[in-house]
């Protein structure tokens, strides 16, 4: 459901959570993780914006439906919709809506989606882009992490080899 993101705090929180997952932070991994946190933040923010666009369209649809009912304010409507299907506030609102303007919440939503089709489609594009960014960055982190482990493994192998070689009798010893 729609909640206003307290921008900086939310981003910082996401970043901290992701950084905590990094076993051995380095400049490269930290920058990749920072980009991932940003992408995650934007994907969430765009989802919220998309929902708010729909809510505003729903409020407009109520205003357009001819009736004597004094339209609910945007914050009232948002509060009701955030309570979710099945809640008392939601059911009461739907009953009133049906009685006053002969519409259901689903009707309002459908009208809003039709009116704001272009913006909603653009919001979907932005969300999808951020999701793809996250996947791309994830692959980069995986590869860097794999390389790190590979480099470490090879270092260990080399150290063991060197020890073994050092332990062998050399030509000079012969």
């Amino acid at each position: 459901m729609v909640k206003e993101l307290s921008a900086l705090n939310e981003r910082e929180k996401m970043l901290r959570e992701l950084v905590d997952e990094v076993e051995e932070p380095s400049a490269v991994t930290l920058m990749l993780v920072e980009q991932m946190a940003d992408a995650l933040y934007w994907a969430r923010q765009h989802a919220i914006d998309k929902e708010l666009i729909i809510y505003r369209g729903m409020q407009k649809a109520i205003g357009q439906a001819a009736s004597d009912w004094s339209d609910p304010s945007f914050s009232e409507l948002k509060a009701v919709l955030e309570q979710g299907i099945g809640s008392k506030a939601y059911n009461d609102f739907e009953l009133k809506l049906n009685r006053e303007v002969g519409l259901t919440i689903a009707d309002l939503r459908a009208r809003s989606m039709m009116d704001n089709m272009q913006l909603i489609s653009q919001a979907d594009d932005l969300i999808q882009r951020q999701v793809r960014n996250i996947r791309g960055l994830q692959k980069c982190i995986d590869l860097i992490d794999f390389k790190k482990r590979l480099v470490k493994k090879m270092d260990l192998e080399l150290a063991r080899l060197e020890t073994e070689v050092a332990a062998l009798p050399g030509i000079r010893d012969a």
């Binding site: 666009i53 505003r56 594009d125 960055l137 590979l150």
Partner: protein, 156 residues
């Protein structure tokens, strides 16, 4: 295939796109203090000097795009209230100046003063305006992440 803007006004508008965030300009990050650090780490991971430079540049480019994206998002303002409700509010200019302005001038000034609010009304809300302003930036994000992925995966 998209043909780009067709009208003169559309072409003029889109010609200013790149000026707003500067992302069309190619940037070399060699002088960025982080560049050397990133390059060194990539080299330690087994990348050649050239590959490490490309990867470091790509990573810093991603950060530049993210910053520009955030700047655009936070710079969006929204105002649907017209500065003037009626062109007649400008009539005193006409009278006081002994008629230096024609009615066409007054209409032009009126439109100019109210152009922002009328444009914002088309977006419907601040959320709508943000989405519309950020949508053209998708390609920069796509290119930056794709270049980064290519540069990091180039070394098998």
């Amino acid at each position: 295939m998209a043909g780009g803007p067709k009208t003169h006004a559309g072409r003029q508008r889109s010609s200013l796109n790149s000026l707003k965030h500067g992302l069309s300009l190619e940037v070399e990050f060699v002088s960025d203090p982080l560049f050397a650090l990133l390059k060194e780490e990539f080299v330690m991971l087994g990348y050649s000097s050239m590959e490490a430079s490309v990867a470091s540049n790509a990573l810093l480019e991603c950060r530049r795009v993210s910053q520009a994206y955030a700047d655009v998002f936070w710079s969006v303002e929204f105002d649907t209230k017209p500065l003037l409700d009626d062109p007649l509010q400008l009539a005193h200019f006409h009278i006081e100046q002994d008629g230096p302005y024609s009615s066409a001038d007054i209409k032009t000034i009126f439109k100019m003063l109210n152009s922002r609010s009328s444009k914002d009304r088309l977006f419907g809300s601040i959320e709508g305006k943000r989405i519309a302003k950020l949508h053209p930036m998708i390609r920069y994000h796509r290119n930056a992440v794709s270049a980064l992925q290519n540069s990091i995966t180039s070394k098998k």
